[in-house]
Amino acid sequence: MMVNLKGWLALVFFLSRRTLVNKKIFIVAAFALILSAIVTYFTFAGETTPGIEDVADLLDIFVMTFFLLFIPMIYGSSILRSDIEDNSIITIMTSPLDRRLIFFGYLVSLYFSVIVVMLVLTSVGPLTLFALVGIPTGAIDVYLKACVLVIIGSIVYSTLYLTVSLITKRAIYFGLFYAFIWEGFISFIPGGIGNFTIRHYIRSIRSSWIEHGGFAIYEGAEVEFSFLVLTTITLILIALGTFLIYKKEIE
């Protein structure tokens, strides 16, 4: 396999810059503003001063339940697929970089872009709250653990959507099905179906790590097992994506 590290890094830098600096960034900025406004409203309209439980709930509701599902979906389903559709990937595919390295280039730039966006969105609410009422005891710990969870979730979900985008042109529809129907509806049917979702294992880790907020009482899997499952899923998806791009014909 031809390894051209400088070329690979140049590809990662180019893709990350292109992913982060475009129109989608305005959507992210709008979300951040909305979050900030909501926090400000509850801070001054509430009867009691928000505390650590509110910080945990805020992160659960907006970040874990909403953004973590949708931001990787939006970026992951388009970063590689749109290049295949408009043929711009040919410029990259006709370079001497091995195709597997090209896939890793897309993967790493996707991780970087999604993590940056997710960390911004994770930070807006707590930082607004801290600025308005000060830092509740233990809130920094909750915030930092939430950041780590967001990074883990971003990696798993991004890998899922990037790999699916190599299988189908409509990866976004798969994403919507997965987010709304599978994780949002079917997983709540009694009988353990919920165990077959990424969210289940992320919440399991969350409930073990953060003992505040509504999700702290979530009865999930052991932390070690959850990590093992998420790592396995990610590695299988990476292997599948690498295999698919290696075999893929670009017409």
Partner: protein, 256 residues
Amino acid sequence: MGLIKPRLGEIDVLGENPWKNSGINSKIGFCPDYDSLPLDSTGHDYLKLIASLHGVKDREFRVSEVTKTVEMSKDSSRKIGGYSKGMKQRIKIASALIPHPEMLILDEPLAGTDPLVRRKLIELIESLHKDSGYNIIVSSHILREVERMTREIVLFYKGRAIASGNISEIRALINKHPHNIVIKGRGTKELAKGLLDESYVISVRLIDDGISVEVNDPDGFFTSIPNILANMKVSIDEMYSLDDSLDAVFEYLVEG
């Protein structure tokens, strides 16, 4: 380029099988036919990215060298989004030159360009072969363009080579048939009047946004049209022959 797996037969490029062989791409310079350039990058930055992907050592020097070759030194610091079609074609050709390739593959290098830009690009491609010594394969569905660059062609139809050899012999067959050429733009009505005086024009028909000209000597038409346009000060947006597609050629050659 190893982008499509062969369904039938075998192909060797520079003695190697290109499928799953990315290493061979360092020996080939490829200019694709579509516009997929990053519009928010400058030409210079784009070429530096290509140089990095190809592992070129002195990137700045090589980028400045190829921009000079394609006469884009002045404009390479501008964003690609502001380039004309001809400038984009030049940057794409420059990107193909970046890795010091043994072979250049130019896919429809003149597509969508006006006659003056075409002439300049053809001169550039000729110079790349004659002065810089590049081996060049040009893919085009406009035989006339190819004829101005080379005498030897291979004609493909639906993935199969249906004719190869000297272009004059193939063109002679095609030229027996009248050609219909569509011209769109401003002032085409005046152009129609002027064209009727030319000996090679059989008829001129007004169509939406332009005219359709039937000619019995396509060579004569395409040679003289730049001067006619310049003299009449007509600005055209688009010009293409309805009979230059491979389908038409196939009909001429195979179906009679």
